[in-house]
């Protein structure tokens, strides 16, 4: 069995995009994470797997300081823990939260403008056009109120909004949640493309383990706030005992 520290050695050298060391997190008195460590490689996709209540969403929230957190978090080698959420975001961490975080009262256009809120460069227009390339539906719905979009469209909007920040790291919380299988397949294919074309590292939280392991290069298995297994995604995919006991497929 590989531990979290070994996993670092597995990586291809260089500073990882994200490195978390001995992360603890709690909601009030209820402790949810008990000292987990993980990395997201430069340009890599790391999947966080585990059952309901394992602490996957909390881990993403901890990275953005949306929950009381202890431990070190390094973005490209620089400490970001303890900073305000909006400052961490401004450092280049885009978070697609659970429930997608759509601004329901605003239009699709305004949602996308908010994605590039912190940017003043001239490439914003071009980036928006590229988002339409990934998600043509958003162009059709551009002037529509975001609350009228379907779940899948809102997921696309959330990803586009996050990418318009030009992040170094994309945190994705259950992008498949509540969506039809065909739409999920499409979104995962696009996520793979985005990972390569946008040169953005991804930390992916997903219940659908088989799908996540297909696109991830590294995976961590969480159980009640602790990492019980970690290693290259391919290895976990082939390990039948892990698959059976933890991933249920």
């Amino acid at each position: 069995m590989t531990t979290a520290t070994d996993a670092r050695i597995l990586g291809g050298g260089g500073t990882p995009t994200l490195e978390a060391k001995d992360l603890h997190a709690a909601y009030g008195l209820i402790r949810v994470l008990h000292g987990i460590s993980f990395v997201v490689d430069d340009g890599g996709i790391t999947a966080l797997l585990g059952a309901n209540g394992a602490g996957k969403t909390t881990t993403l929230r901890a990275v953005c300081n949306m929950v009381r957190t202890e431990g070190q978090i390094l973005l490209k080698g620089e400490r970001i823990d303890g900073r305000a959420t909006e400052e961490i975001v401004r450092q280049g961490v885009a978070h697609v939260p659970d429930g997608r975080g759509t601004f329901l009262e605003l239009t699709v256009e305004e949602n996308m403008r908010l994605g590039s809120y912190t940017r003043y460069d001239k490439d914003v227009e071009g980036d928006r056009e590229r988002m339409f390339g990934y998600f043509p539906k958003l162009k059709e719905r551009y002037r529509q109120q975001a609350g009228t979009l379907s779940g899948g469209e809102q997921q696309m909007l959330a990803i586009a909004r996050a990418l318009l920040l030009r992040p170094k790291l994309l945190l994705l919380d259950e992008p498949s949640f509540g969506l039809a299988p065909l739409i999920v397949k499409g979104i995962f294919e696009i996520m793979q493309r985005i990972n390569v074309e946008e040169k953005v590292a991804i930390l992916l939280v997903e219940q659908n383990a088989s799908l996540a392991l297909k696109i991830a290069d590294r995976a961590y298995l969480l159980e009640t706030g602790r990492i019980v297994f970690s290693g290259p995604a391919a290895e976990i995919r082939q390990d039948e005992s892990i698959r059976r006991s933890y991933l249920g497929y």
């Binding site: 305000a84 909006e86 401004r90 975080g101 605003l106 809120y117 996050a162």
Partner: protein, 290 residues
């Protein structure tokens, strides 16, 4: 009939003032779900500042812009100093702060500027009645200024990046942080803007009702009635509600209840709206999932 038309026009003129203050109330309500009871007294204090500047010889329009700027800064400071520490406190704590601010502002206004009633200058020609004699120059001018303020506020929220961020922060603070919006500062800016709008409303109404530390007490009630009537969750509704209350007040005062009982109508409107349609005419019904 001429009298009736006159009442409507001057109702629209005072309604514009109510609309401005109602908008200020709604702006703070939308982002914090609190009604700032001190909104009126803050505006009165600002009007005193404008009065002092004008008495000191500053040209009217310069004084008005300076007053807006000073009030804006005061609004931001109040949010930062008094309201920010209350962010996670129970609702009643904020209400306490608002009432405290109300008392402090009234007392400070009286202490610094005195309780004697003062006439406030108007930059508009009051000699000749306009529009066929139905409105005074000041009423027309004040309505124009109010409309300019309301349209500028609309354009700011609709077309600027900062305005969009402020709306986003009001609707969804969590998601706003996740796109890098500094939500705390957006609230402070909202307070600043509300204080600035209130200041201009104060300067526009002062020539009509005369300036004293309690000048806005009644106006806040009418404005609150206007905000509720239009829908306190909807800025446009609040503005229309403000105008409507102005007209209702004037006509009711002239033909139905008489001037002595005018303020009662504000209370009647508030009670009626809360009983019949609490969300107001254009407001959204707030639904929460159980």
């Amino acid at each position: 009939m001429d009298g009736f038309i006159h009442q409507i026009f001057s109702g629209i003129a005072t309604g514009g003032i109510y609309a401005s203050v109602a908008l200020a109330l709604v702006m703070i309500y939308q982002s914090t779900h609190h009604v700032n009871f001190a909104q009126g007294e803050m505006a009165t204090f600002s009007t005193f500042i404008a009065y002092t500047l004008i008495q000191a010889g500053v040209p009217y329009w310069v004084a008005l812009v300076a007053t807006f700027a000073i009030s804006f800064a005061m609004g931001v400071a109040i949010e930062r100093i008094f309201l920010r520490p209350m962010a996670n406190a129970p609702e009643l704590s904020s209400v306490g702060v608002f009432i405290g601010l109300l008392l402090i502002y009234t007392s400070i206004s009286g202490w610094i500027f005195g309780y004697t009633i003062k006439t406030f200058p108007t930059p508009f020609d009051t000699g000749h009645p306009m529009l066929g004699g139905f409105v005074s120059g000041h009423e027309l001018g004040a309505t124009a200024v109010t409309l300019v303020v309301l349209l500028s506020v609309y354009a700011f929220f609709r077309f600027t990046r900062l305005g969009l961020a402020m709306r986003a922060a009001a609707y969804n603070p969590v998601s706003s942080r996740l796109v890098g919006v500094r939500v705390g500062w957006m609230l402070a800016l909202g307070w600043g803007l509300a204080a600035g709008i209130g200041a201009i409303a104060g300067c526009m109404v002062a020539p009509i009702v005369f300036l004293d530390p309690n000048m806005m007490a009644g106006i806040l009630l009418y404005s609150f009635a206007g905000a509720l009537l239009g829908g306190i969750t909807n800025p446009l509704g609040a503005v229309l509600g403000g105008f409507a209350v102005g007209v209702i007040e004037n006509i009711g005062g002239a033909y139905i209840v008489g001037t002595e009982l005018k303020l009662t109508m504000a209370l009647v409107i508030i009670v009626a709206v809360l009983t019949v349609k609490p969300s107001g005419l254009l407001g959204k019904t707030v639904q929460s999932r159980v």
